[in-house]
């Protein structure tokens, strides 16, 4: 059986704690394993904070970010949509994780780890909006 959670938040980093609470309840009721809940919340945290920090110029708090979680048998799909500047998270440069810590760039880890935790990521620019879909296969505690 499918289930969906739809949330809309203003583009403020402070919104994330409430979003995390609401998504945790949904994912737990969907029977997701603890490590899958961690992975999905990590992806949500990184994609949301990236939008807040980089998608808008000076009026970011007047913009909304739409979040959807879909639970289908064996799959959770996380979707985020914003009307900020065009940004494909799959185009972000990958950090060199073999560099010593004193030579590492500080940015880029969040999206890189998100890509590694997810089963797949899809990005589209639709009607002037960024739409990112992140799929997590077999997230259930019994998988």
């Amino acid at each position: 059986m499918s289930a969906t959670l739809d949330l809309t938040a203003s583009s403020r980093i402070e919104e994330l704690s409430t979003i995390a609470e609401q998504t945790a309840v949904f994912l737990e009721s969907a029977g997701c394993a603890a490590n899958s809940i961690f992975a999905i919340q990590f992806a949500l945290e990184e994609l949301f904070s990236n939008i807040v920090n980089y998608a808008f110029d000076h009026d970011r708090e007047s913009h909304s970010i739409a979040i959807r979680l879909e639970h289908d048998p064996g799959v959770i799909t996380l979707m985020l949509e914003d009307d900020g500047r065009t940004f494909d998270p799959l185009s972000a440069p990958l950090p060199d994780t073999s560099l010593p810590v004193d030579q590492r760039p500080i940015g880029g880890l969040g999206l890189f780890i998100t890509q590694r935790l997810a089963s797949s990521i899809d990005y589209r620019r639709v009607d002037g909006k960024n739409r990112v879909s992140v799929r997590f296969v077999a997230p259930s505690a019994n998988a």
């Binding site: 961690f38 904070s49 073999s98 810590v101 890189f112 780890i113 590694r116």
Partner: protein
């Protein structure tokens, strides 16, 4: 542990009574917002001491990449190999491993 130096609502940092530097006890979600709030104070303390640091994550169920950045900056201040994560939950170990930080940062 003798908490003498820094004890804020968001974390507690003190000399580790084993003599291995500082011990920073954190609890709750270390998300982007929270790391933004605590990083400056933690890094200032590390810069002042230059000692190895152990982050005790026994009561931390979640970290964002902002915490990994904090650990990288901490390692730059006190030296690679001198940052230790203790009592680390398996999903947190996994993100440090993906980031290639399970070498420069000791994780238990």
């Amino acid at each position: 542990m003798d908490i003498v130096a820094t004890n804020q609502s968001d974390f507690a940092m003190a000399e580790d009574n084993s003599g291995r530097g500082l011990r920073c006890v954190l609890s709750g979600r270390l998300d982007t917002e929270r790391c933004g709030r605590i990083s400056e104070a933690i890094l200032a303390r590390l810069q002042a001491s230059g000692q190895p640091v152990t982050f005790d994550l026994a009561d931390v169920p979640f970290v964002a990449s902002a915490f990994l950045r904090l650990c990288i900056l901490a390692a730059r201040l006190v030296g690679s190999g001198n940052v230790h994560l203790a009592n680390t939950a398996p999903p947190i170990k996994k993100v440090f491993k993906i980031a290639g930080l399970d070498g420069p940062i000791r994780i238990d």
